[in-house]
Amino acid sequence: MNDARFLPYLLLLPATVFLIAFFLVPFTQVAVEAFTTAEGFSLGNFQTIGRDWKFVPAIRNTLLLTALIVPIQLALSLFMATLVTRIGRGRDIVLYVFTIPLGISDLAAGLIWLALLDQSGFLNTVLFNLGLIDGPQNLLSYQNVPALFAAIVIAEVWRATAIMLVILVAGMSLIPREYYEAAEVFGAGGWKRFTRITLPLLRSSLQTALILRTILAFEVFAVVIVLAGTNLPILMGETFAWQFGLQDREGAAAYAMIILAISVAFTLVFLIGLRDKAEART
């Protein structure tokens, strides 16, 4: 009897210890560090990073990138998920192909796109051989910030849409066929079925996918560093620069806290905005 009662806790123990040791403890240390200066508790570290001229651009660029990337990924993953669920034979293969970029690290993904878009990259070679340009064009230059943004958005959409796709495909496969059949009987078209059946019943999957993707978008790092270098300050890049370049752990901790605060704020927005009102939780 006793065994059965304690077994779940026993099974949870390793994961709990792991989380405490490698997540909670370092997290608390970082949080304490962010709010501590030589004089004790203070917001001095936030003032220090706030005075840096890169602080405002970093926040602006990160928010802008998120605002560009997440909606594109949402639309694209909904489209791809619908496509995948429609396919009968070969569905698994299509799904696997779609999710290949998930297996690639973000640094490698950045390098792939750098090899494509670079001054001596594939895109330039193809355009040159087709006679469309006279010589190598530098697409990723500090003089052309919109192009930098576009390159990062494309790379990120390519790399990370699949994570949303996987969640949405799982969610869609849980929607009972009968609803669609009933809708067809009443003459609902494809678009109507999508907006009236799929989207509402997909709400909790959408919530998960959006929260996950938005948090990851605020942590975008390697792709930006590879494609834009220091030409486009972002929050994670600045955190890295303060920790390792400037050897200022407190400044880096303050940046980490800002990323955390933004992530928490957006998670709350999605939790409240996409709350399940009608459906009871199981």
């Binding site: 001054q119 530098n138 230059s141 500090y142 270098g229 220091t230 400037l246 050897q247």
Partner: protein, 430 residues
Amino acid sequence: MKRTRTRPAAIAALVLAMGASAALSSAEAQELLFWSNQAQPVEEAQKVRDQVLPGFGKPVNYLPQEPGPYMTRIQAEAQAGSGSIAVIGGLHGDFASFADSLVDLSDITGNLGDVQVNPAFMELGKLGTAEQKYIPWMQAGYVMVANKQALEHLPEGADINALTYDQLTAWGEAMTAASGSPKIGFPAGPKGLMHRFFQGFLYPSYTKSVVTKFRSAEAEEMWNDFKALWEQVNPASTSYGFMQEPLLTGEVWVAWDHVARLQDALNKQPDDFVVFPVPAGPAGRGFMPVLAGIGIPKTSPNLEEAKALVAYMMKPETQVATLTATAFFPVVDAELPGDLPKGIQMTGPVLQAETEAADAVPSLLPIGLGGAGGKFNKVFSDAFQQIVLSGRDVRQVLDQEAENMKAVIAETQAPCWAPDAPSDGPCPVE
């Protein structure tokens, strides 16, 4: 469904990998760990392992690291009071950040026999203390390289061995006109050494100072001149790390960089390039030597063997092998063989010429900044990014960055170093 099935396999693989790495690290325990941030490129690191270290006779694990992890582990081991790093290789400025956790190596000179180490470098190795914090290991510098195609566009009356910054700009204009795109290149990318260009070359050439005259009228003129030069610079420069690559592809015809970061181009196509000294400004020909050293952390697991390794690295034969492997020159009196790689043969005399130039303004690496070296570098790269890349007002940016400079100096209390005149107390920013 599919996701859950892969998970146990992934965990099994992870456990296996962890077991394997644990087994590996116990095997490594016998070796001396040489922790370094020099000779990072894979080929260079392998050359150090194959050509430099075997002569020591005992196994040495040479592990070059990125700056972040490099510093983190040194600090972590010092904080923990125990560690596995036997010797640390780094630049002069790096050692200042962890000077307190280094063993005094004053007695090592006894181990060196009749090896003559450059006395000025030995003095730098004390980091301003009474103890020998590190032993000079190897030296390098920065030079200019030009593609031979560029030489025909050299402005009338300009001597490539005594160039000025104005002539470099004129040369750039001629090259842009001839080739259709800007052909001068600088390593201004995330991994490049652009900040050293401002600290050791441009500022000394215009102001004979790095700190004191940071926001002087001369500095303002300097930034305006450099903005004009930048018009002739390939805009891809903000992504360049090592100039040997754009030189080889022909994206860039004239470049400034660290000698070790040019070797690949010079060795592969020695007949296509010329190496020449850095340009001069109104105040002279500013240049900065690079000094790397070896130190032993107090937590070194085997002090005697670590000291023996340091002594081995100082032997003239080892120093020559190091030169071949890394393109860093000896710091001891050593006979150089005739069959050195082309790149080294081409850069050596130019480094010598920079030191001996009549108008030379030697600048030291920042001294006494400790862990604030990164913030000091940031002052220069931020000024560059704001003035040159974002086109902001020179005076305004200099005034604002001068405050950051003051904060760094106030934090570290560092006195002036060359080319600034010596100061009583912290170095003033006028």
